[in-house]
Subunit: 189 residues, 2 copies
Amino acid sequence: MQILKEKIIRYGELIADSIIKVDSFLNHQLDIDLFNEMGREFKKRFQDTTITKILTLESSGIAVACITAQYFQVPVVFAKKHEAANLGADTYHAAVYSFTKDKLYQIRVAKDYLLPQDKILIIDDFLATGQAINGLLEIVSQAGAEAMGIGVVIEKGFQKGREKINNQQIQLESLAIIEEIHDGKIIFQ
Amino acid sequence: MQILKEKIIRYGELIADSIIKVDSFLNHQLDIDLFNEMGREFKKRFQDTTITKILTLESSGIAVACITAQYFQVPVVFAKKHEAANLGADTYHAAVYSFTKDKLYQIRVAKDYLLPQDKILIIDDFLATGQAINGLLEIVSQAGAEAMGIGVVIEKGFQKGREKINNQQIQLESLAIIEEIHDGKIIFQ
């Protein structure tokens, strides 16, 4: 998606060799016009797929999931990764290791909000090592629902997350794929 | 807002005397059609107010802020309350005590994303004791920006947050105000 790649080049900040900070439009300040472009693009890429619900992960997946949901006319459910006083005990859950934060999270979804008949589109902001996506796939599987597709905004191709997705049959669409970061330059696939 | 009150009555779960759980449409599963109704309503209530940016607090404020931002055609900035590896040190910040979780948070916004010329609409899902809103007002003040209005989805009137807002001149709009919870019944103002 050309406009997204231009934003990444123009506003992305490289932190170390593998972390790209896009706080000015994706992760802290949110460019809602761009999010609408992304939502339209996800709809285009999954136009023939039946979707009943979008599943994402707090916090940074929520914005893109919500704007995208408008194009599919479905509700969003976000997995919680922080303690939530009133989430209740009856949850699907998976362990997700964050390399960025060097921390193991439990991500959880209340059983009430994922049903066996649900056809799920997983949306997230980044695909890096695939940990978060695999955690969400695990939760969909526990619910007996069907994962129909995965849409991510930025795929860090060099971290090989795509190959580590536990379901290799599922359609995976990334709006921008970074092949490598070399000498402070971002090279797209 | 009638449709919201009906949702609260129909789907809200009372937890203890002061916590109302609205996970089925507002805080875990997100009813995007309802969010669009809320966004339109906020725009109506602040139609004569110049707004350049919406400020909210992760995680549960993000969805309503993003959908609402479409009606104001402005970007969203969300204050971070969880550790963020790459937020950087140059932040505005405020301490916010959460009664629900009995925990003191630091909420933070990178200085890059709030400018002195910004005219801010603060959006959040709940107004209870006013702690979160006051933290956001403090951050707006640190940036030298101007807080133009506060929009919340559900105000728990009985917790008197409205009276505790540090800026009593600012326009505060709640889409549903719960006056009291009595014998397991929710009574709106």
